[in-house]
Every structure is written in C-alpha cells, then in structure tokens.
C-alpha cells in the first residue's frame, strides 16, 4: 500500500469532492468557532510579566481607576499574579486599541461568513 498522494493536484481533486459532499451548516459553524477562538487568542495581552485577557470589564475597571486620578495600580492577571502597572494611561490606550482591532477583525470575518452562501466560500476557497 502506498501513502495517499498529497501533491497539490490530488489535494485539489479531493478538495472538490470534499466541498461537494460537505454539509454547509457544519462548515459554517466550524468557521464561526475558528473565528471566535482567534478572537480569544488575539485579545491576550502580555506586559510586565502578566497575562491579561482584554475585555470590556478590564477596560471599564482601568478606565474607572484613571477617572479617579490613579496613575499607577496593581492588576490581577489571568494566572492570579499581582502585576504592577506603572502607567495606567499607556496601559489603557494599548488595551483599548487591541480591543478595537480584534473586534473589528472579528466583525469582518463574521460578516464574510454570514454572506457566504456556499461551502467553498465559507472555507475561503472562492
């Protein structure tokens, strides 16, 4: 027995077969889940030895501290480590920017998926 042919022409042929028989709904859900996973990963922000997941709650909390005139603070990261933040303004700018960028990419990808009416379009083959 020989190994399946993985050359690109064979892959293209198998792609056509897989696309023809694939369930559109399954592919759509898979790709939506992939986009959600990517969002989660893109929203991870590491600084000063801590790892943060950028979310509305973190932005609101840091923003509240800033509005009360705080310039430095200690935040608890995802691994429950206390992380000293020396410059709240800079930290807030970075996480808001990250949030905007990632949610915008997520929106674009979800819109693309919603507008894709064939399996090939859903998986980016057309």
């Amino acid at each position: 027995m020989t190994a399946p042919d993985s050359s690109q022409s064979a892959a293209d042929e198998r792609l056509q077969t897989a696309l023809a028989s694939a369930n559109y709904r399954i592919c759509l859900n898979n790709q939506k889940n992939n986009a959600r996973v990517r969002l989660e990963k893109d929203l991870i922000y590491a600084t000063r030895g801590g790892t943060f997941r950028v979310c509305a709650e973190l932005i609101s909390f840091v923003s509240a501290l800033q509005q009360r005139g705080r310039r430095r603070t200690i935040l608890i990261d995802v691994n429950t480590n206390p992380i000293e933040i020396d410059d709240i303004d800079e930290f807030l700018d970075v996480i808001i920017e990250r949030y905007y960028e990632c949610t915008n990419e997520f929106l674009c990808e979800m819109r693309r998926l919603q507008q894709s009416r064939t399996t090939a379009a859903v998986v980016g083959e057309k």
């Binding site: 897989a18 694939a22 992939n34 990963k41 801590g50 998986v123």
Partner: protein, 296 residues
C-alpha cells in the same frame, strides 16, 4: 535573560523529524519574527537531513545542540497514520525530552513539538512572565470538541493529562525540580505505569509531565505548581485529518475527518491560530508547498 524556542527532533526510518522541525522553525520565523530557535537532535539525524534536504538546518536554527549518545530505554514503537487509509509502525524516539532543562541554551525556554505549527505570535506572551512553568492541559480537535479518553485523563478515574506539546520554563529551582521528576519517572516507568494505571506500552512525555506535575502539586489535581500557557487550549489535528493547504503564512486548511461517519471529510480553515498537526506524514508530503507559501 536569554530566551528562545527549543525543539527536539530525532529521526526514525519513516519520519524525518528534523525536516518537521525546519518547517516548524519556518512558521516561527514567519509568525514570531526575531525569536531564537534551537534544534536538539542527534548526529545521525542531523547528518542525514543536511545531506538529503534542500532546507539546511543552519539557515533555520540559531542554535543546534547534539544529544549525548545514550542507550535507549524503551522499545517505543507506535503507529503513524496519514488518514485512516494509510499507516506505518516505527520507533518513536521521544525519550530525550526530559533533558530539555540541561540542553536548552536559553534562560527562558519555550519547548515545542516539531509538529506544533505557530500561525500566531500568541506564545510570545510567555517571555518575562511571572510564572516559572507553563503548560496546557486542555486540547480540542479541529471541530473544537475537547479531546477525551486517554487524551484527557490517564485512566477513566485517573489524573488530568497535561500536554507536553508546549512547555514554558524559566531556569530555576521549580523547573529543575520538574525536569528531575520527569527524568525519575522515565527511569521508573513501569512503577509509575502501575501506580497511575494508564494503558499502553508507549512511553509518553505527556504522561511523564502529567505525573510529575501531579507530584509537584502535592498529589492533588491542580495545586498551582504550573500555570496555563497564554494559548489555553491546544488545537489538535488528529492523525486521521489531513493537512492540505497553507495560505498567507498563517492560514492552514485541513480535511477534517468525521469521527462518527469515518468516510466523510470536511474542509476546515484556521487563520492566525496555532495548530498541533498529528498527521506528520501529510506535513512532510506537503513540505515544498509549505516552504513556498511561507516565503521566509
């Protein structure tokens, strides 16, 4: 503090692991630019690769460390699949992972499998972390279903499994202790196999790390000895799935095999997400295509 990625690659007669490591290093160069990468291999694998492959190791690795000659402890024969329709049995030479602490040239090391493809720079978040050791214990397949059975617990009532696919450690007492324990568990594999009651004859680094972490946690499940990596779950393409295309340096497409209707394949594309591809044969078969698409 120096920092970098370390990969182990020891060839067998079916799989050129060094070739896989070169591919993984090319993904790192493309998606985690500026990261040092160290290859740990044996002289025979290095010589064979550099004389047979157009992708020489010297271009892709900042450091190459040779393994000391050693007697292999296990007859580790495993099945390598390329989808459900083709497989081969061969030696799995994975015993040297426990030497990572001593062989790594870096103060901060991210130890990666050579089949873990980095399509994002999320793991760069580990550098200068407050944590000393980070490792994942969650893994999902391409449909985001958590892996179950022996990929979740060592036995149905046993301890949770940690994935040695990606391990971050900072040289210091905690990491020293972990790797010493892994080495001890490897040397007393039969004892720990009986104690932790897991199936199969294969020596698995995942299991050795899981047991070591369980011991470090005071024989408890989750005592805080290690933390999750920033990428909290490992997306795993099973060996029944087949890689078929890379686009733009970070968009991987697979034929995903349906676990219930086994004749059926669905196309699944991941962009900007790291994927652990267990079907090594399909990666090696696509080497030309991948290296061309990465263009680094």
């Amino acid at each position: 503090m120096s920092r970098g990625i370390v990969m182990f690659a020891v060839n067998n007669s079916s799989i050129d692991y060094v070739q896989l490591a070169v591919m993984a290093a090319a993904f790192i160069k493309c998606n985690m630019p500026g990261t040092d990468v160290c290859l740990i291999t044996d002289q025979a694998s290095l010589d064979w690769h550099d004389s047979h492959s157009q992708w020489k190791t010297s271009r892709w690795f900042t450091h190459v460390v040779l393994l000391p000659p050693a007697q292999e402890q296990f007859d580790n024969t495993r099945c390598y699949r390329d989808t459900r329709y083709w497989s081969v049995h061969d030696r799995f030479r994975n015993e040297t992972r426990s030497l990572a602490y001593d062989l790594s040239p870096f103060d901060q090391t991210l130890l990666l499998d050579s089949d873990y493809l980095q399509c994002s720079n999320v793991l760069s978040a580990v550098w200068d972390s407050a944590e000393e050791i980070m490792i994942n214990r969650r893994a999902v397949d391409l449909s985001h279903t958590p892996l179950a059975g022996p990929e979740f617990r060592l036995n149905p009532y046993g301890i949770r499994m940690y994935w040695a696919t990606a391990v971050y450690f900072k040289k210091g007492p905690a990491a020293r202790q972990l790797f010493d324990l892994v080495q001890h568990i490897k040397q007393n594999w039969e004892f720990y196999k009986l104690t932790y009651d897991f199936p199969g004859e294969l020596f698995r680094n995942d299991y050795a790390f899981s047991i070591a972490i369980h011991i470090l946690n005071g024989f408890c499940d989750g005592g805080g000895a290690v933390a999750d990596l920033p990428d909290p779950s490992i997306i795993t393409a099973r060996d029944t799935d087949q890689f078929f295309r890379l686009r733009g340096g970070n968009s991987l497409s697979f034929f995903m095999n349906d676990q219930l209707e086994q004749w059926k394949f669905t196309v699944n594309t991941f962009s900007g997400v790291n994927v652990h591809c267990m079907n090594k044969l399909s990666l090696i078969n696509s080497m030309d295509h991948i290296m061309g698409a990465l263009d680094v």
